[in-house]
């Protein structure tokens, strides 16, 4: 899953197949290649129809890859003709779905087909039934309408198209001369369907972030660059990137517009990440040389990692951020948009203005195309984001987020879980004091949360400074009870706490109970750990 999100292939470039029935249904020949069907794309759906009405079957295919639809036009000149029939039910359902049609030719076996709606995978073929004939002539056409009535139609000729209406016994010729699709090969096709901006459906609160000033000090982005402005455009650039340099001068030229809009700009150079101080100084000189009118500095490794993580949280496709990339942040320190490639000053400014729009209206502009929702998503991504920060070791940032936005997060039922997770990450990273705080906070919102109780027990029993075995045992007991003695990990902690408190006998009882859990049977590590406790 992770690899796929990072853009790896999986059973990719598998070519479509075609098999030709070589008569009698005894054997099919592989015609994937000679038929022209074998594109190495991710095809899914197939719908047959005689789109160009030239008497043979064409097909539409849907793709996961681009282009998302393919039209395979059957351009061979077949000696064989076809009979095309469109049914209309009068007693049965109007589409006559389920009708069985048998066509007898002057010689050879009959051809039988049923009209269906939906088959293959995710697809629906034409309701025009298509009968191939070879060079034969039609003898008779029998329709068994859904419901059982049989009806014979006569006077049909192969090579033609007819409508057959239930109960009328007469086929009505349908003529629509076949036409070549007009060749409108469009010009100026865009190279990408994406515009460069990813405008967030709901602006995402950010933690406090730091950059390195040209003097080499660690500075809050929030302070000076944002200051009392209405928003801030944070741009990552490299002196080795032509587009970056162009962008810098475009930003500089738009100084007045930015000022009028109250939008601050800071450009952070990334060259120091690989090239060290020398590269950073070189970049700074370049900016001085062009009298760059905005704030500037250097991106730190941690800041870049953070911004990449943010990108990866928002999008399924986790691709490395290019330079230039710009992040538009509003005055409430929320991420509004990410621009990959050059950002136009008016793009960022108008996006800031659109923040004033009502939610629904603003959201329309966050998608590449207009359309209508049946059930528009309203997910709150902030909790996941906080959770991910702790997972990835951004402890300061995570802490800032859950404290500053506690008011919004607390009503969310998932919040205690986020806090417990945060506690465990901190505990594993040797941040026991913080861990204790998160566990306590989680328990204040949900007093029976097993993970938090268990975590507290661990903190109090394992940490040398915070050690309090009596309290640890209390929490371990509560954790075991809250989890109905069903979690072997919790029980293992309880055993340790009991042993530390000299309750050997009870410890053995709990141990046996833990070993009997299916989890312990499956998990060899756990089993070993429990057995080791036993032998102690």
């Amino acid at each position: 899953m992770t690899l796929l999100r990072q853009g790896r292939s999986f059973s990719g470039r598998e070519r479509h197949c075609g098999f030709l029935n070589t008569g009698g249904g005894r054997r099919f020949a592989d015609i994937s290649e000679v038929s022209g069907l074998s594109l190495p794309e991710d095809g899914t759906g197939v719908a047959f129809c005689d789109w160009d009405q030239d008497g043979d079957l064409d097909l539409w295919m849907s793709n996961r890859s681009g282009p998302q639809v393919r039209f395979f036009r059957n351009e061979a000149k077949w000696p064989g003709r076809s009979l095309r029939l469109l049914l209309e039910g009068t007693k049965c359902n109007r589409d006559a779905i389920g009708a069985r049609v048998t066509v007898m030719a002057m010689s050879g076996k009959p051809v039988t087909k049923t009209l269906r709606a939906g088959e293959g995978y995710l697809s629906q073929s034409s309701k025009w039934l298509h009968f191939g004939f070879g060079e034969n002539e039609v003898k008779s056409v029998t329709v068994r309408w859904p419901g059982g009535d049989e009806e014979e139609f006569s006077g049909l000729k192969s090579g033609e198209a007819y409508r057959l209406k239930e109960g009328e016994g007469r086929a009505v010729s349908f003529s629509n001369p076949g036409v070549e699709p007009v060749s409108v090969i469009p010009e100026d096709l865009p190279e990408s369907g994406r515009t460069n901006g990813i405008v967030l459906g709901i602006p995402l609160p950010l933690p406090l972030l730091k950059y390195e000033s040209n003097a080499g000090e660690s500075v809050e982005l929030f302070d000076q660059p944002l200051g009392k402005r209405r928003g801030l455009l944070v741009n990552l650039w490299s002196a080795e990137c032509e587009a970056c340099l162009e962008e810098l001068s475009e930003l500089a030229d738009a100084r007045r517009q930015f000022e009028a809009a109250g939008l601050g700009v800071i450009v952070l150079n990334v060259d120091g990440l690989e090239g060290g101080k020398k590269a950073s100084r070189e970049a700074a000189r370049r900016l001085n040389g062009m009298r760059f009118p905005f704030f500037s500095g250097n991106a730190t490794e941690s800041l870049v990692r953070f911004l990449q993580l943010t990108n990866d949280e928002l999008l399924v496709a986790q691709r490395p951020l290019p330079v230039p990339t710009s992040f538009l942040i509003d005055q409430n320190w929320r991420l509004v948009a990410i621009y990959k490639g050059k950002v136009l000053p008016e793009q960022a400014i108008s996006e800031m203005e659109r923040l004033a729009l009502p939610f629904e209206e603003r959201r329309k502009g966050t998608l590449p195309f207009e359309g209508r929702w049946h059930f528009a998503p309203k997910n709150f991504v902030m909790l996941n984001f906080a959770d991910r920060l702790f997972q990835r070791g951004f402890f300061e940032e995570g802490r800032d987020l859950v404290t500053r936005y506690a008011r919004f997060m607390e009503p969310q039922p998932l919040f205690p879980g986020v806090l417990s997770n945060a506690g465990i990450r901190c505990l594993d990273a040797g941040r026991a004091h913080e861990a204790r705080e998160y566990f306590q906070k989680a328990l204040s919102l949900d007093p029976n949360r097993v993970m938090a109780l268990h975590g507290l027990a661990r903190v109090l029993s394992e940490n040398l400074i915070l050690e309090d075995q009596t309290e640890a045992l209390k929490f371990a007991r509560r954790a075991a009870e809250a989890g109905n003695f069903g979690n072997a990990g919790v029980l293992s902690t309880l055993v340790q706490c009991l042993q530390a408190n000299g309750e050997e006998q009870e410890a053995m009882t709990v141990l046996e109970r833990a070993l009997a859990l299916p989890e312990a049977r499956k998990n060899a590590d756990l089993r070993d750990r429990l057995n080791a406790l036993k032998s102690e």
Binding site: N21, G118, S123, G371, R372
Partner: protein
């Protein structure tokens, strides 16, 4: 060396439970070596060696027989001829004569796929599928498909080819006379539309870099396509369902053969992820209405005339993510009912947030499929009623269902139902007067594989309907599941199910007595790669049903295969 678990993930895209620790699949590395060795030999690269005493059959069988020659298509087949002792010279002559059919002796495309690797008393026995295609000298196209059994010996760590037997060879020549058979013309048809230029030309991979997860984006969004007339001119129009956050597109088929996007003005531009769509006349008023399988439920849109759609109903179900849908009048009351397939039981599963049990050949924790009976005939308008349990379709209904297809397989006049399930048994529900009985086992159509699609047709023209089921063919699966050390604790029967799982598509011939016989391999339609839609259609107007298989899983633009 990748461990067993990783290899199995690459076989089926799902981790397989309980891989014995310490088991390594050297065969995977060997398969890579074999592939490069055989490729090197065929390309006559230096340093690729034949063992002394090497024997081979002519790569192009000497007794090649023309099995079919009609309408510009010539099919020849042959098996291994006499084994000859040859040196490198002889080998290269054999390659030359194999490829002599191609313009300048060069195919445009070739593929070597190692699908069996077995060590037998010091000899490495491998089976390799060879494919090639290109222009023939003169005009036309040709393709070759062969299965070679190659035995190898190792000397100083290097592979030496000991013998090569041609187990199967097929050559198909297309001399259509005036040009190619199928030609891609989507740009000619759709190219005048902005939605083609900016939206449809780009695949999901592109959109996942642009449309936030917030809007419901996820990796596994797959959509089909529907054709049907929505404006009453007798021409098929086109509906293209789309991933989350991109509007579905409706194109009207114009008289000149092009198609015009009317999604917005017709009210068909839904942004909810839509996997499948149907154009069917649900209210029997003579125009095509729309049924859309979306993340947010099944949307029913009435065509109020001239392709103007109004939302009439949203069908909610216990499991939320509808996969596919089909329409049928199962109860003969003259209105169209809808059958919905569900892959996963829980919302979020498709997004990979929670997983199924991962049991390949027998998962029973999928979503519950639903049959909705239409209220139109009873005068209840757009009210649909869930009748799944009432009619007996709740039997064996927790599979991971991807596709369904209705057909009167027993020729008794009503519509029976086949459901293709991923990770396990498929279901055949026989309609007995509006009540359904699951008879897959007795009928012989269980096909316990990764069922992806189902299609019915009378391909042998004997008056009853046969069935083609899309599965997947995995050469990695074939290599691993056939080894003795693959899960030695499993009974042979169960191991057989694993092998079965990666064998490819199945074709079931209707024997006319209520039972079927699986004939995919003997008919030559089994190995069809990572198949999705695998469907019957007469591609050359000869009255005999042919087969088309849409293929491929995830192709990224710039990287190799996992």
């Amino acid at each position: 060396m990748r461990d067993g678990a990783n290899v199995l993930v690459s076989v089926v895209g799902q981790p397989v439970i309980e891989t014995a620790p310490g088991v390594e699949w050297e065969s995977e590395q060997t398969a890579e070596e074999v592939k490069s060795a055989i490729k090197g030999l065929v390309h006559l690269e230096s340093g690729k060696r034949l063992l002394e005493g090497f024997e081979m059959a002519p790569l192009r069988p000497t007794e090649l027989k023309v099995k079919y020659e009609e309408d510009g298509v010539t099919v020849s087949r042959g098996k291994s001829g006499e084994m000859l002792k040859v040196g490198m010279d002889g080998f290269s002559k054999s390659v030359e004569s194999l490829l002599a059919v191609y313009e300048e002796g060069q195919p445009e495309y070739e593929l070597f796929k190692v699908f069996r690797v077995e060590e037998k008393s010091g000899v490495l026995v491998t089976r390799i599928r060879f494919e090639s295609s290109g222009n023939i000298t003169g005009s036309g196209r040709v393709q070759q498909r062969a299965e070679w059994r190659c035995d190898w010996a190792r000397r100083d760590g290097e592979l030496y080819l000991k013998s090569l037997v041609v187990e199967d060879f097929e050559e198909v020549v297309w001399r259509g006379g005036e040009g190619p058979w199928f030609v891609n013309r989507e740009e000619e048809v759709l190219g005048g539309n902005d939605s083609w230029r900016k939206q449809l030309r780009f695949g999901l991979d592109e959109w996942l870099q642009r449309v936030e997860i917030f809007h419901g984006s996820f990796l596994g969004q797959r959509s089909g396509v529907a054709v049907g007339d929505v404006n009453g001119d007798g021409r098929d129009d086109l509906y293209v369902p789309q991933p989350s956050g991109l509007p579905n597109r409706l194109f009207l088929h114009e008289a000149d053969g092009t198609a015009r996007d009317v999604s917005t003005e017709s009210g068909a531009d839904w942004l909810d992820f839509t996997s499948a769509s149907l154009i069917v006349d649900l209210d029997n008023d003579g125009d095509g209405d729309l049924a859309l399988a979306t993340n947010s439920g099944l949307l029913i849109l009435e065509n109020t005339g001239g392709a103007k759609f109004v939302r009439r109903a949203v069908l909610k179900t216990a499991d939320e993510d509808v996969e596919s849908l089909t329409a049928v009048d199962f109860d003969g009351d003259s209105d169209l009912d809808l059958y919905l397939c569900f892959d996963y039981a829980r919302a979020g599963a498709r997004r990979g947030e929670v997983r199924g049990s991962g049991v390949l050949h027998n998962s029973n924790d999928g979503g519950a499929n639903v049959l909705f009976s239409s209220g139109q005939a009873e005068g209840k308008g757009w009210a649909f009623r869930d009748v799944t349990r009432e009619v007996g379709l709740d039997a064996k209904n927790r599979r991971h269902s991807l596709a369904a297809a209705w057909e009167d397989y027993d020729n008794d006049g009503d519509q029976d139902l086949y459901v293709a399930n991923d990770y396990g048994h498929n279901c055949l529900y026989r309609n007995e007067g509006g009540q359904f009985v699951e008879v897959a086992s007795a009928a012989g159509v269980v096909d316990a594989g990764p069922g992806m699609s189902a299609s019915w047709a009378d391909y042998d023209r004997d008056g009853d309907m046969d069935l083609y089921v899309g599965n997947m063919f995995s050469s990695a699966g074939g290599r691993i599941f056939t080894q003795e050390k693959f899960r030695p604790w499993l009974a042979d029967e169960e191991k057989g199910l694993y092998r079965r799982f990666v064998k490819g598509n199945s074709m079931f011939e209707n024997l006319g007595n209520g039972t079927f016989q699986e004939v995919g391999a003997v008919r030559g339609v089994e190995t069809a790669r990572w198949a999705w839609s695998s469907v019957f259609g007469d591609l050359n107007n000869d009255g005999w049903e042919d087969v088309v298989v849409a293929n491929g899983y995830v192709t990224a633009p710039d990287t190799g295969d996992l």
